[in-house]
Structure formats: C-alpha cells, structure tokens
C-alpha cells in the first residue's frame, strides 16, 4: 500500500467515527482538539485501523498520534512488521 492509500483509508475511518465526510478530515487536523476524537472514540478508531490494515498497534503508541499524517508512517511500520512476521 502506498502512503497516500493509507492516508485515505485512515481519513475514511476518522470520518466514520466523527460522523463527517472524508473530505472534511484534513490530514493535519488534530484528532483530539480539532476533530473531537475523545478517549472513547480514540480506542474505537484505533481498533478500526487495526482491523482495516490487519495490524495490532498498542494503545500507548496510538495515544501519541495527533493527526492523520502522523498515523501514516506508524501504520506503514506495522504493516511491514506484520508482513515480515508472516514471511518468517
């Protein structure tokens, strides 16, 4: 998956939990302060991302992410790790 594809997928998930259109989710908007992703929605979002990409990101790591942009490389890393683990 390209970084852009990942970004778009995450945007769609953020849009879903915050009841917006994906176009209304800027990739650099702050999840908590700007988009209203509180602790409850945050966990829900994390689980949706994990399910969408087939990864298992720990909640401590997810909590550090402030924006969609910040989430992209982290998801990429977990995708690579999961693929490597499968390969091994």
């Amino acid at each position: 998956m390209t970084a852009d594809e990942i970004r778009l997928s995450i945007k769609e998930l953020v849009a879903e939990v915050t009841e917006r259109e994906p176009e209304e989710v800027p990739a650099d908007a702050r999840l908590k302060e700007d988009l209203g992703v509180d602790s409850l929605l945050g966990i829900e979002l994390m689980l949706l991302i994990d399910k969408e990409f087939g990864i298992d990101m720990p909640v401590e790591e997810f909590d550090k992410l402030s924006t969609v942009d910040e989430a992209v490389p982290v998801v990429e890393r977990y995708l690579a790790e999961t693929a490597a683990a499968r390969g091994a």
Partner: protein, 405 residues
C-alpha cells in the same frame, strides 16, 4: 416529614460477609483484590478483580432455591436477609404491605446473557433453555427479595450503574419520609461479569495490580462484585422497638452531566451540583460535613475530577475534610458500590471511625485532599456525604447523619 434511620446492614463483599467482618476488614485495611477466578483472563493484559469467593446463598434462603435464581439475586437476597437479621427482625415480623424493596445495579443478571452466548456459539441460539430468559431482566432481583421475605410494597430496580446504590437508598428514604412505607430494604448488587471486565479492560481502565485511589501512580479501577442492603425504617417505629440505629438518612442529591457516556464533565460540575443538592435537601451547611466517602475508583480521571469538585465546593476547608475511598479495598463493586459505601458511612457515624484509602503511597498533588491514607482514623463524624458517579452521567450524593438520642 417522617425521619428515616438505618437499623440493619447486610453485606456480601470481596472482603467478607456480614456487618462485623466487613467493618473490621475495612478498618484493618483488608483488600479483596486478587487474581480473577470466575473466568479465564489469559486473553487480557490484566488479571485482577474483587470477587466474592466461596459464596453460598442457600443458607440465607428459605423459600427460594439458590440454583434457580441468578447470582446477582443470590447476593441481593442474602444481603437482604442479613440486613433483617442485623436489625433483630424475622421476615414474619414485617408488615409486608408497608415494606418495599429498591435495588441498584449496573448489569442486572449478566451471567444469563453470557450463558446465552456461550450456548449460541456452540449449539446455536435455539438450544438456549427457556427458563434462562425469564430470569434475566433486572427487575427480578428485588422481586426475589420480596418473594423470599413476603414483601408487597413498591419493589423496583434502579439500574443507574455505578451510582445505583445511592439512588436505591434515596428511593427508600423518599418512600418512608412521604409515608408510603414504614420500612424499606434498599441497596445494590452486581455479579462479576466478563461483559463488564471486557469493557473496562478495553477502555484501559483496569489496574494491573492494586487499586490506588488518589495516588500519583494509580493505574485504574478493579472490577468487583457483591451486595449491600440497608434496612431503612421510620424513626418512631425504630425507637418503639428499641432498635439499634446506625445513622439517619438526611437527603439525596442527584444530577446528570449530560456530557459523555463514560467520562465525567471535566469541571466536576455534575458532582458539585449533586453534592449541593444533597446538602440543601438535608438542610445542612457545607461547614457541617465531617467526612466524605469518595467514589474514588482509582482511575486518573475520576480521582482528579472528583477532587476538583470537592475542592471547588468546599473551598479552603476541603483539605480538612477526610475523604476516603473504600474501593481501594473492595474494588469497584458496580451497583453495590455506593450501597457498600453507604453501609460504611453508617458505621463511621455510629462508631466514630472512618476507613482508610489503602495503597496510598504517593498522594497525587493534583488531587490534594486528605484521603485518610492507609490507616483508619477516629474522627467522630456527625454529617457525611456519600458520593457516586456513573456511566451515563448519573451523579448521586447521599447525606447521612449521626443519630443522637
């Protein structure tokens, strides 16, 4: 209006059953938090709970059969009978038409839902036994008490989650003071449930080891189970029969945050409104509050917001009002919690001792009040507030007073 007093206490808790064991345990800092045994927690990152171990309801049942009622009902009926016994009464002595039951709960009888799903997973939903369905609805809990003890007055369940016990006791208080009942068995009950455990675990709310309310390093709450029932009675009738009076119920204050389902309003305003309403109804001034039984679950958010609310409401006096959380010992027994806490408040008022908050090693400077760390203290309180805050934004404060003849 008629004055209402507490003349009986029945408790089934993670630190033992019966008023004496319960109270000695609380004053001695006994913890009921251990590794969960009622289901497999290997799929979780946490493994502790506060279960009621080795509980057998049958000795407390004369009309009902324990195996035919849910665990929550078992806990509640046992506590109900204990409360009567503690009050020196037999069920036959009750005027059934002038007695009612009000029970608070969070989950009702969740084990039937779990059993339904267990069966459904293996054999499909059609294989679920019929009688399970009838025993599930949470209103059966007080009905079981009514059936066991021959009670015919108002009989209901108030499932306002973690604050339910206060609501139920408040309802009993109202019914007696308005003349609709002479006695009420009021309290709360909840059974240990994987549904509850799973939910709190997924929220990251469960502490991996201890429950440490108001400690800087607190890591969360610990789910528990149990039941606590108070026998509420008209003061004049209690005096007529020379009953032991533990405390007087003075008032209930409730509010709804209407903000978030699982997190309190960050300003603590809902908690403040509930405490204010309780004091107003009780006709007491803030200066009269000697002790607060905190909700004190041990989560970062609750303990901070609760302390903020008390500080804001009581101002410079706040840090001089001892406020302890017995959840540090009992875990969070859900619908039973505020009823157990009310029982502890009654005993604090009648004995002069207040229980400690145990596991308090490094008080959180962001909390900043006197949490009665680790050692029980004899302060002879006269007016206490019992605070409870629940999912759905339900806040309830119960005001209790020392009974002086």
């Amino acid at each position: 209006m008629t004055r209402v007093v507490v003349t009986g206490i029945g408790v089934v808790t993670p630190i033992g059953s019966g008023r004496e064991t319960f109270w000695n345990g609380l004053l001695g800092g006994v913890s009921g938090i251990r590794r969960v045994t009622s289901f497999d927690t290997s799929a979780y990152r946490v493994h502790n709970g506060a279960e009621v171990l080795g509980f057998d309801a049958q000795p407390y049942l004369r009309r009902l059969t324990a195996a035919m009622i849910g665990r929550t009902s078992q806990l509640a009926v046992a506590a109900g009978r204990m409360a009567l016994f503690d009050a020196g009464l037999e069920a036959e002595q009750l005027d059934g038409r002038r007695t009612g039951v009000s029970i608070g709960t969070t989950s009702g009888e969740p084990l039937y839902v779990e059993a339904y799903n267990n069966i459904r997973k293996v054999d499909g939903a059609d294989a679920v036994p019929d009688e399970m369905m009838a025993r599930y609805p949470c209103h059966v809990i007080p009905v079981h008490i009514a059936m066991e003890l021959g009670i015919h007055g108002p009989c209901l369940t108030i499932p306002t989650a973690c604050a339910a016990g206060n609501y139920a006791i408040g309802y009993g208080f109202d019914l007696i003071r308005t003349g609709r009942a002479d006695m009420m068995l009021s309290g709360g009950a909840d059974a240990f449930s994987r549904i509850t455990y799973m939910g709190f675990a997924r929220l990251g709310a469960i502490a991996p080891d201890l429950c440490q309310p108001f400690d800087k390093d607190r890591k969360g709450m610990v789910p528990g189970e149990g039941a606590a029932i108070l026998l509420l009675e008209r003061l004049d009738k209690a005096q007529e029969r020379n009953a032991t009076i533990y405390a007087e119920v003075r008032g209930l204050g409730v509010s709804c945050d209407a903000h978030h389902m699982t997190a309190p309003h960050p300003s603590g305003e809902g908690a403040m409104r509930a405490m204010t309403a309780a004091m107003k109804e009780s006709n007491i001034a803030r200066e009269e509050v000697d002790y607060i039984s905190a909700h004190g679950t041990g989560t970062i958010t609750n303990d901070r917001v609760e302390s903020l609310a008390v500080s804001a409401l009581f101002g410079s006096r706040a840090a001089r009002i001892p406020m302890s959380s017995i959840k540090s010992m009992l875990g969070h027994t859900m619908g039973a919690a505020s009823a157990m806490e009310a029982a502890a408040c009654c005993l604090a008022l009648s004995t002069g001792w207040v229980p400690p908050t145990i596991n308090l090693e490094k008080p959180d400077p962001e909390c900043g009040l006197d949490y009665v760390p680790n050692e029980a203290r004899r302060i002879y309180p006269r007016i206490v507030l019992n605070n409870a805050y629940a999912f759905g934004g339900n806040n309830a404060s119960l005001c209790l007073a020392r009974h002086e003849d």
